[in-house]
Symmetry: C3
Amino acid sequence: MSAEVKPESVSLGPLGPAGAPGPEPLCVLGTGDLGRSLGQRLLRAGYRVVYGSRRPGSCGPLPEGAQVMSHAAAAQAARLVFVCIHRENYAFLEALAPELKGKVLVDVSNNLKKNLHPEANAEYLQRLVPGAHVVKAFNTLSAWTLQTGPSDANRQVHLCGDSAEAKDAVADVAAKLGFGAVDRGAVSAARELEDVPLQLFPQWRLPLRLAAGLTAFFFLYLLLRDVVSKYTSEGKDVSFRIMVSLANKVFPIVSLIMLSLCYLPGVMAAFLQLHRGTKYKRFPEWLDRWMLCRKQLGLLALGFASLHVLYTLIIPIRYYVRFRLSAITVSEIRENRTAAFDTTMAWRTDSYYAVGILGFGLYLLLGITSLPSVSNALSWREFSFIQSKLGFLTLLLCTFHTYLYGWDKFLRASSYRWYTPPGYMLCLLPPSAVLALKLLLLLPCVDRSLARIRQGRERARPREDAEKALLT
Amino acid sequence: MSAEVKPESVSLGPLGPAGAPGPEPLCVLGTGDLGRSLGQRLLRAGYRVVYGSRRPGSCGPLPEGAQVMSHAAAAQAARLVFVCIHRENYAFLEALAPELKGKVLVDVSNNLKKNLHPEANAEYLQRLVPGAHVVKAFNTLSAWTLQTGPSDANRQVHLCGDSAEAKDAVADVAAKLGFGAVDRGAVSAARELEDVPLQLFPQWRLPLRLAAGLTAFFFLYLLLRDVVSKYTSEGKDVSFRIMVSLANKVFPIVSLIMLSLCYLPGVMAAFLQLHRGTKYKRFPEWLDRWMLCRKQLGLLALGFASLHVLYTLIIPIRYYVRFRLSAITVSEIRENRTAAFDTTMAWRTDSYYAVGILGFGLYLLLGITSLPSVSNALSWREFSFIQSKLGFLTLLLCTFHTYLYGWDKFLRASSYRWYTPPGYMLCLLPPSAVLALKLLLLLPCVDRSLARIRQGRERARPREDAEKALLT
Amino acid sequence: MSAEVKPESVSLGPLGPAGAPGPEPLCVLGTGDLGRSLGQRLLRAGYRVVYGSRRPGSCGPLPEGAQVMSHAAAAQAARLVFVCIHRENYAFLEALAPELKGKVLVDVSNNLKKNLHPEANAEYLQRLVPGAHVVKAFNTLSAWTLQTGPSDANRQVHLCGDSAEAKDAVADVAAKLGFGAVDRGAVSAARELEDVPLQLFPQWRLPLRLAAGLTAFFFLYLLLRDVVSKYTSEGKDVSFRIMVSLANKVFPIVSLIMLSLCYLPGVMAAFLQLHRGTKYKRFPEWLDRWMLCRKQLGLLALGFASLHVLYTLIIPIRYYVRFRLSAITVSEIRENRTAAFDTTMAWRTDSYYAVGILGFGLYLLLGITSLPSVSNALSWREFSFIQSKLGFLTLLLCTFHTYLYGWDKFLRASSYRWYTPPGYMLCLLPPSAVLALKLLLLLPCVDRSLARIRQGRERARPREDAEKALLT
């Protein structure tokens, strides 16, 4: 290969059908991994590809059918130029400004960390080559996708740039490669696009940590209360309960707390607005952040609730349960007792299950309407009806379910082993508080004040109001 | 603030970075709640915002960094003008026609009720200012979203208007605010967009009412038959059955009826086409409406089926069930009987469960393919294969499941307490009828006629056909 | 009707509001079923429709309000021409080239089979009428949708063509009919669009066949081992087990095998890359195809796992199970034995259930993130984290679940009835192999080599590397 080196242009392999004059030649500056993957894909889509390289003669293996030239010659050859170079090496592009003038410059670069540079790569590029139309694109796709085509999380090319025509040109190339294009606005949106590949569930971190913390706390709490205390006081080893019984206490507890934490910030925001008398002041930072992760809190709560349901449904096939039920029947016969049917007990447990199932059903409905495609299909009035009205109903049902579970146990001294309350009592506090506060907000007088504030009226500016009245 | 009033222009607060010459100034006519929210958001996105007000000097608190001018001056200052005024006050815009000529006029208004006015607000606006390019946009977003940015049901700005360029300009602003844009066509589509925020599940009303009615009817029917009759005839209080046993009879009954009502209109339409001999005549209004809510009928049926599944799965952990099973074992021992294993019974109940599970599995599949993103990914041939072929299979399995449940109970006189049939018998009628009619349609001769009609051929126009034959 | 025939133009019915000068007249060439459906819909959307027919006077019933002309006159009358003619009859359009020059020609045709013609219909049309702007569109919609409007799988018009303006014009019409438009690139994409309506789950075929084959094999295997062998050796008829017990063995077996087949190709590809020392060589055809149906394999595996869950949860309400449990209690009393509680057994079975539930929970999570709208909302790093990391965790949990199920049964001779291993042992082989291979890949030295290869470096080109080092 290196024998054929020519000063300005090198053609790799026979010019097969892919290399034949296609719809238009595209330039790829940079012969690294990304440049090669992208070029290969462009060639397969029928484009003519011209690589720009510092050393056209010795730039390593390039896809078959592509041409290699000097940077300047390659930039000259095409209307659309892909910059497949690390940001650190952008500086030399300043010298290519004459060749790049009026061209569409596609910035596909990413950074290794957030906030590494004061400005986005694409903005930096636009500053270096002000005469070109910089379009940020393709950077949110994986290298694998660039090579193999759209799949699952990689079906759309997000692009931004200041020139609508340039964006259209890039969108056309994206369409030919099989991708949809999503216009994300001006080049100032590039920072956001460059952060996308670096993020790993940023909005899920806080909720996940919270869930992990709550799970760990209640697991230890119940382990000490239910297993260790049993062992130390009665010498009985019930450690096998950890796998199902204990887990099935922790999951619903965490789920209910998370669900109430999902509805608490909204209630707090309402009280804050009532207190301030206006909706135009921003909420404190922490409340804003809390409100932004409500969806994640709710979905995690749903996950724990689902585990609770599955753990509950396998109860009757557990060895321990079957053993105990059989033992009860056996002892009843041996001691010649006849158990009496307790109608209250039947009512109570059946209600407990029924309310739980209905609550879980609504929970699922909330989860389904959180799916992007479903919430997109709803009007915001419909969405807020489901997430707010039905959401509070869900919280109410689940809280009621837990109260029914407790029933009158809170009266019995034996419930407070080691002077600690059982887990379900602890977990009832947050939802009860949220429901009580919500109830307050639903009082007609409070509700009216809040509605007025949310329609944009302000309270307690008597002087200005009087002035306005005079002027109007 | 009022001390600084100048006749034409008022600058609020220091001209910070947001107020600095941004990409372009935008005009917001109207300083009410909507205008303020929108302006605040535009400022944060980096735009320069100019408010137009009747009294620039005394229009109340505006977002920091915005300018206030008279209506005319503000309209003059920007290429894009947001009209944040109630439709009732549009009239004065007629006088601004010279300033608004050639400008993009964004109508964001909504109405309090449907059909309040003879023409859509945007059409009215276009009539008032014929020289401007009216674009209807942003009205489907909640005020909250306008202030805080895209979320869940508020990710897309739907827009319509007669000028493609004007729509592009508005789509650009939407993109900068973080929204996607959906082009909905000409300004004549405005009415549809203005109705969106007013609707609350319009297509779900009929199915929901039907489900509520059926549930109430069967609940009362079974309450009388199973609980009240037991009390009056035997004096036994089995009211605790209401919570689970009764509910678990009502839910599958309603589910099966709803599922068959989901497939009945399709079958009826086929027979109507066969009878008429053409597919070009419109169906009667009621049939059209019925066919349009089939999806909702099916999804509600799936919801009821899911509740039935959960209610069934908790049967073995119910107090009543455990009590009865134990009592049976105890009585067996005390009376020294040995129950014989009944293979038919084992076959029957296992088949009953297995068919039910398979039916529910298909049911779920139908539900999943109804998700907008999944059905969008299917070709219509694939979609109709699932919803039609697999749908009828689901109906068949669920009906069979119910027949297996009944088995030979219909032969026993004791089944007809108070001379009424049990609920499951009643609910078998609609699906059996639908399946029978569908079977008729699958007969080769009927199937062939129907296929011919659906390919567009018409029957029974002998005279015209003859004529055509002569002419061809 | 035929009395009013005029040589060039026929108006059908009174020119009602639909026939009044609308936004623009559209031409429909062809008066067959498709042409009539489309025309009817266009008329309802407010367009003026002009049909082009070979015999304007005798072309059968057309929608009310439409005009009929000769082909040439109709083509002349409109800027946008719908070609509703079978490809076989396109030839005559060549003669219309002068009238069609500069017009937008919408090709809505489909074929009866794939690869019937050497070029796509739209490409053929473009070749026949090079002066027109051919746009392929509407062909992926069902005729029913064309008549009644968008629904479910028919909300988007996919279009492709070489002229952006022509595509915009067609997208406008689509928007007026209520459809979204998806630009699929140049006219060369037409073949792909023409194949869409012909496909019926092409990517699901292989996985479905595999699932059917595995199900059939294991069903027969277990039928012989568990039911037939019992009958021949002990004369006991346990055939009732087929419906639930046997199915509940087959489903998890098939599910686990399918899940491991979903992760096997990825592991194989990694070893192939390690072996070759480069990522730039294409994988063998069969591996490529296998990798492309991983999602389908995984979703089918999830379906089987869900059935396994439901079949397991109904165990305690089965007649057979209740009978046996009662019989055990009865025999315990009659023989005056007292069963001892086995803590190991309790630990083992509870762990078995708990691990299974957690595995299924992750399984569900994988399924949910496979929904198009969810995976679109994820960055590829997030998507691959879930599908790869959590996917292998799922496989690990499910495999461990099965090992716990087996426990020490593999030591007992009675497990190998008829010298064959039980089904669950067979199904443990593929996942164990996949997990072992994956473990190998996670060894630091192997992991590092693979990472280097995937970053685009190549191994074993010592001469070139040295050369480059000199030049750089």
